[in-house]
Symmetry: C2
Subunit: 386 residues, 2 copies
């Protein structure tokens, strides 16, 4: 067997998910409640009825790659040659880690807490990886200086997610510019892998900034999965400078040949009617409010999400260093699924999704408080939770 593949640690999120009961209130993974717009899918099928279902070119249909490049309009990444259409954003993260890093010389730097995909992909490819942790005391506020302090001459790629799963934090443009200024001043500026899969699900007045607007070594990974309730369509993309893209295309071509033609034709329809990309945002704004208001009512403290569909609840004593125990306790005693923050590289929190029926969110939060409080009361006799 390949040792790197064999030794990837099993997914803790999956282990938790496997233990859930059928009637659980599931605030764990978060499958979109809304259905996808069907018209682009129907239109894609009509195209197949007329043209058959041929391969696309390896990197994707040129007209789709052009549409994606034009839609985002990042300077220097504004043509089909800057785009590879990928199997969801997962493959969009895989390609740069596979292709752009020399494992014998370089390393990747991952900003945590974060979804552990980047580190596991580095493990899979034998790429050394280090983490730089944002501060839980600030609610994981984006911090350019902290990241810059962690960069070394070996750092070839920095992975940054904004909006971030699990923190829900968005990098403000000023902080992102400070980060990029610092990176650009380095003798060998690393790639900045900007994971923008939640870019359409933001709750501030403005769309989250992308470093691709001011850092020429940015690679943008994203997909239709979250914005359009199309997680199963596996339609993602990576944008990047052409020298990088040429190497990523090679890996892409040998790993999967190309992406599903039906998914690509549907994506072309969506980019021709880009209002579809933002259509679900009001729903997520409302769902977030349901969760935050339930947390307030129950006296639970949380990091207020600025984007994504997740929220970190702060654990009270005696749970602050035992998030896995807390999640299992809540599952066993109250039948609610939550994800411990230890999975994302930090202690002291539970991640919950607000993609669930409002009444289930409210009941779930009541039960979470009851489970945490019961233990707090019985163990250390403290009733206050915040």
């Amino acid at each position: 067997m390949n040792r790197l593949v064999e030794t990837i640690p099993p997914s803790a999120i999956r282990a938790i998910n496997d233990r859930k009961r059928a009637d659980a209130i599931d605030l764990g993974l978060g499958q979109p409640l809304l259905g996808p717009a069907m018209e682009p899918l129907r239109s894609a099928l009509s195209w197949v009825a007329r043209h058959g279902c041929p391969y696309s070119p390896n990197a994707g249909f040129p007209e789709l790659r052009e549409a994606i490049a034009q839609h985002f309009g990042y300077p220097g990444l504004d043509s089909a040659d800057s785009v590879c259409v990928t199997v969801g954003s997962q493959q969009a993260l895989y390609l740069p880690i596979k292709s752009l890093i020399d494992p014998t010389q370089h390393e990747a730097l991952v900003i945590t807490p974060t979804f552990p995909a980047y580190q596991k992909l580095c493990h899979l490819e034998g790429v050394p990886v280090r983490e730089v942790a944002l501060d839980p005391k600030t609610g994981f506020a984006p911090d350019a200086q902290a990241v810059l302090r962690a960069v070394t001459e070996r750092t070839r790629l920095v992975a940054l997610a904004s909006p971030c799963n699990p923190t829900g934090r968005v990098w403000p443009e000023s902080e992102l510019r400070a980060l990029c200024r610092g990176l650009l001043a380095l003798p060998n500026p690393p790639y900045l892998l900007s994971d923008e899969v939640y870019a359409e699900l933001y709750f501030g007045a403005e769309r989250p900034a992308s470093p691709a607007h001011f850092y020429p070594h940015t690679l943008v990974a994203s997909s239709l999965s979250k914005s359009c309730a199309l997680t199963g369509l596996r339609l993602g993309w990576i944008l990047g400078p052409q020298a990088a893209m040429k190497v990523m295309w090679k890996a892409h071509q040998f790993v999967v040949s190309c992406v599903d033609t039906i998914a690509q034709r549907a994506a072309l329809e969506i980019f021709a009617n880009p209002a579809i990309l933002g259509q679900h945002r009001p729903h997520y704004v409302a769902q977030r409010e349901v969760l935050l208001s339930a947390l307030r009512q129950q006296g639970l403290s949380a990091v207020e999400p600025e984007g994504s569909f997740y929220c970190l609840i702060r654990l009270p004593e005696p749970w602050t260093q035992r998030s896995m125990d807390a999640a299992l306790h809540i599952m066993e005693t109250e039948n609610v699924v939550t994800i411990p923050s230890s999975v994302f590289g930090v202690e002291g929190f539970l991640r919950v999704t607000f993609v669930a029926e409002p009444s289930r969110i409210e009941e779930g939060v009541r039960r979470i408080r009851r489970a945490l409080l019961r233990e707090a009361a019985s163990t250390i006799g403290v009733a206050g939770l915040c």
Copy 2:
């Protein structure tokens, strides 16, 4: 950059394809002429209208994996746990090469001539690879002893395609059994990666045998691409023993998460009506006859294909060691696209597809003869071509 990705040799087939003129007679790649059955696709879309478009489990929907396992009914590979649904057969070839071979200890053995995907995937993953060539004098007849002589104690995986692209040869069951008997007698029997992507396109009385019926270390890679004119659907699968499957699932999950839900629901419909899988075979039987009859008329000799939709034409002098020159000469002087056998690791042949309009095939073959003959006459004054 990653040195392995960067140094994969560029595709010669692609280079030839890039030089073709818009009005060329293209006997190069072979895109199916028939359209796919639309009903399974429509049915998949109705499923999405009812259920949304969620992720499937990483390895694929259990009901699809079960249907695939049941359809083939290979001993020991007869449950969902023996299957991973992949992004076409390309990813089905990638997974074992990525996951099951320790590049520091093992090597892969590839039976040639063959489509160069296996060797390039080995290159991508740093896996040492050797080739064992079948004999052009026998028309590349399958030869168990030749393969067994090439196996060493380092051989962890043997890649075998039947029907084979480009030779069109099918391994007879007796020869396949001889190969498997020899492999099984080794102290450490290697995996046998059986590429069965053309299994539905056979021209003998019987379906090509699969080694999965009598060799327990078989991995079967296939897809809906060729049988169902669904190259663009990217719906493939790999079947294998569970110990191997568990490691391949890991790589699969991190590289692409899972395969397109719409493609999987369509595949489920197809396996529920498996007659669809063989529906296009009569068409390919007829197309093959068009090509062989045109070749006979023009006095060109070929390896008669027993499967696939390709055929190797024997090159006459002065071309026998210059297949690339021959293909370029034919393209330049007669505007016909063919693929030189050098691309597949052997000299002396041109690969042509018989997936083209019959009149184009006939005209293409006339022109091929004219180009080869003209040169033969002008260079060495020999008119006979066979």
